[in-house]
């Protein structure tokens, strides 16, 4: 059996969105048995990168838990849809970068986790350059 993994795809294969637009898509659990899945969490979040310590904030969060009686079918794709906020916009700065992504975390039996992530761009802010002093 291959390594368990999560694949994510956006509707229309889009990767760039504007604030207020609907981000939708699906995720698939691959090489994962249904009986092994304890819970699935889907997050639409942004996190920072660069020279500073990482900050993270979740815009939308869904959790399906087999323990709570939610039906999780590892063979069928899961859908997601959310309206994107007005800020913060994706930013490719010099020492501060801000990235948006959809992250799916699958909790498996025996305390294992599988994580899949697909970045997308929110807004149209061009990359920044350091000013020469």
């Amino acid at each position: 059996m291959n390594e368990p993994m999560v694949t994510i795809r956006f509707d229309g294969n889009g990767r760039a969105y504007q604030p207020g637009e609907t981000l939708s898509g699906e995720y698939r659990l691959e090489s994962i048995r249904r009986e092994d899945v304890k819970a699935v969490e889907l997050s639409v979040l942004w996190h920072t990168d660069g020279k500073g310590d990482e900050d993270l904030a979740v815009h939308d969060f869904r959790r399906l838990s087999a323990e709570d009686g939610d039906w999780i079918d590892a063979r069928s794709p899961g859908r997601f849809s959310t309206v994107l906020p007005k800020s913060p916009l994706s930013y490719q700065g010099v020492i501060v970068k801000l990235r948006w992504c959809v992250r799916v975390r699958v909790f498996l039996a025996r305390d294992r986790e599988v994580v899949g992530e697909l970045p997308f761009q929110l807004g149209g802010v061009p990359a920044a350059r350091a000013q020469e002093s």
């Binding site: 990767r15 760039a16 660069g50 020279k51 994706s90 761009q121 061009p126 990359a127 350059r129 350091a130």
Partner: protein
């Protein structure tokens, strides 16, 4: 006007989350290991100091040591002191829960004032917990390890960070910043971050 950036540009391999202590595996010299250090710690009545200059891997070594301590059934409690922190950010009540099965690790021990050090060591004697500290110079505890850096080690770390993907920065470009920062790997990696960003921008133009 430049176009919006690629939503998935290659991350800078020298960004904070890749180079923080613990993110970079500590490389033991030949004949040394975390288990060996633990054994030495036990022989020294569970107290010791890790001494080394800035950016020489003390915090990375602490990460490796913690894992070893807990594999051996003891509890590790890490306190990181930053610039200007003269007192331990932990109450006596919490320290009262420490016992002989606990090893308290104070990263940045020299930030503590003389009174803070005195009370900590007195408390340690009363409660019997272990104490490992990191410092830039000896603080009078038995030596556990002395961290150093070398150009070869710097090359190895940078190669690991760069991985196999093509990069605007080459591993051997570490020589100049290593020399100018006198072996301080933290500053070397910061410089390489800036170099990577500058070269990436030039490529995009």
């Amino acid at each position: 006007m430049s176009k919006p950036h690629d939503p998935d540009p290659a991350p800078n391999p020298f960004s904070a989350r890749h180079v923080r202590p613990g993110a970079i595996r500590f490389r033991f010299p030949a004949g040394k290991s975390a288990e060996g250090l633990l054994e030495r710690l036990g022989q020294n009545n569970w107290q010791g100091q890790i001494v080394g200059p800035h950016g020489s891997g003390k915090s990375a070594l602490v990460a490796a040591l913690i894992a070893s301590i807990e594999r051996n059934g003891r509890r590790a409690c890490l306190i990181e002191l930053h610039d200007g922190q003269r007192r331990l950010p932990v109450s006596r009540r919490r320290m009262s829960a420490f016992g002989p099965g606990t090893v308290l690790i104070v990263d940045g021990y020299e930030q503590l004032g003389p009174w803070g050090r005195f009370t900590l060591r007195r408390f340690r004697r009363r409660r019997g917990f272990g104490l490992v500290v990191t410092s830039h110079k000896s603080v009078g505890l038995p030596d556990l390890f002395r961290t150093t850096t070398s150009l070869g080690l710097a090359h190895e770390i940078v190669r690991d960070l760069l991985g196999s993907e093509p990069s605007p920065v080459a591993a051997d470009e570490v020589d100049q910043p290593f020399t100018s920062h006198e072996g301080n790997m933290r500053e070397v990696l910061f410089d390489l971050y800036d170099l990577y960003e500058q070269r990436r921008v030039r490529r995009q133009r």
